[in-house]
Amino acid sequence: MRPRWLVTAGRILTQLSHDRRTVALLLVVPALLVGLFAWLYQSDQVFQRIGPMVMALFPFILMFLVTSVATLRERRSGTLERVLTAPGSKADLICGYALAFSLVAVLQTGVTVGFSVWVCRLELAGSVLQLLGVAVVDAVLGTALGLLVSAFARTEFQAVQFLPVFVFPQIILGGVFMPRQQMPRALELISDFMPLSYAIDGVSQVAAGQGGWVVGRPLLIMAAFAVGCLVAASATLPRRTP
């Protein structure tokens, strides 16, 4: 018998495969946005600094959104109830989602990195493979957070509002607009508790050709956040509802 989380991941990918437009948007849009940045900053070195950071944002934001919408739809259509009364644990469902969307993230990041390096002339001192690795953890993090917070959304409108609530502050304080060390102390401390900060940090370090603990540390912290969110998501997903 195939493990149930694999079965669920397969089901989610099959659903996506019927929605070609969403797949196209997921794969192409991040690359085009990076291209926009490259165009905007074509004359100076800003793009070489910001480019990698922007790459850290997309897997996180998009996976957060897609996951929130997908799980909310699952709840509203009655399929979630059906899955919860079928054999299997809540962890199977959660892990299925995490796996399916991290596979999408691998493809997405591949396209984005390829476009950035070969078309936008982003200079990468580090390896493309390492960058892919960080981006995948980044995407799992987005999926995990999306799964967790969507448990608290009753309607589609609420789910979409969670983006400005849970994601925008992380973008603002994540180090793209201002290096985190230069921020007011209080904000720097807050950003220490925001997982996206470590994604931005990790991607920048890889792009700068760093390795070892300098990359390993943010990666580990991201992974810990992701696992924490997934565990919390499967604990807070109620079987019984009012």
Partner: protein, 248 residues
Amino acid sequence: MTETVQPARPPIVSVRGLKVKRGRVQVFDGLDLTVGSGRLTGLLGPSGSGKSTLIRAIVGLQRIQAGQVEVAGLPAGHPDLRHRLAYSSQADGVYLDLTVAQNVAYFTRLAGRPASEVERVIEAVDLSGQAQRLAGRLSGGQLRRVSLAVALIGAPQLIVLDEPTVGLDPVLRVRLWDLFTRLTAQGVSLIVSSHVMDEASRCDDLLLLRQGRLVAATDPVRLLAQTGQPDAERAFLELIRRDQAAAR
């Protein structure tokens, strides 16, 4: 007027002192009933009387305030029951962006059943011609049958169906009730909620709910005898009229 049915075997479902509040509505305030094992039990009652809520309590999805709901001797929602109980909700619970066959295949794999099940249950609900179509492009009645097909996967001991025949034509409805009867002949217990009163005559036992109370637990023959009415529809109207009169 509440009468209890005396089942020969221990009941498949027993509900004692069930209290449920949904939002501001006190749906049940101490409900007691049993459902006979190996029987086709019809759950009837006006819209809003609590049929779906009772069903959700039985399958372990409803948060309850107090009381006990037992299924096959286990508390409702027990993990062991997930292999023994099948449920199809009033909402279809079908992935609209998957084909009929993909929907059924997903739940077949979750249940760890062989792939041959997919064809069998699709055939049972007469959807073989639509198997490769996207569920989102089906008619309401076809969608209802996909939902039913999923509930037939495996060999559940208890099948709970919330209004499975809504939106179906009379021919299909008769075919499905034949299927339900065959299932009970194989020893499966079924609970089927319905709005259509003439479907009541196809059941072994009947439970009539009104405003969260059990108004009658009876069977089709006794129902007509008790009320002196010629058909189930009029008999139920009579029971509800008597219940209203008693409440006053």
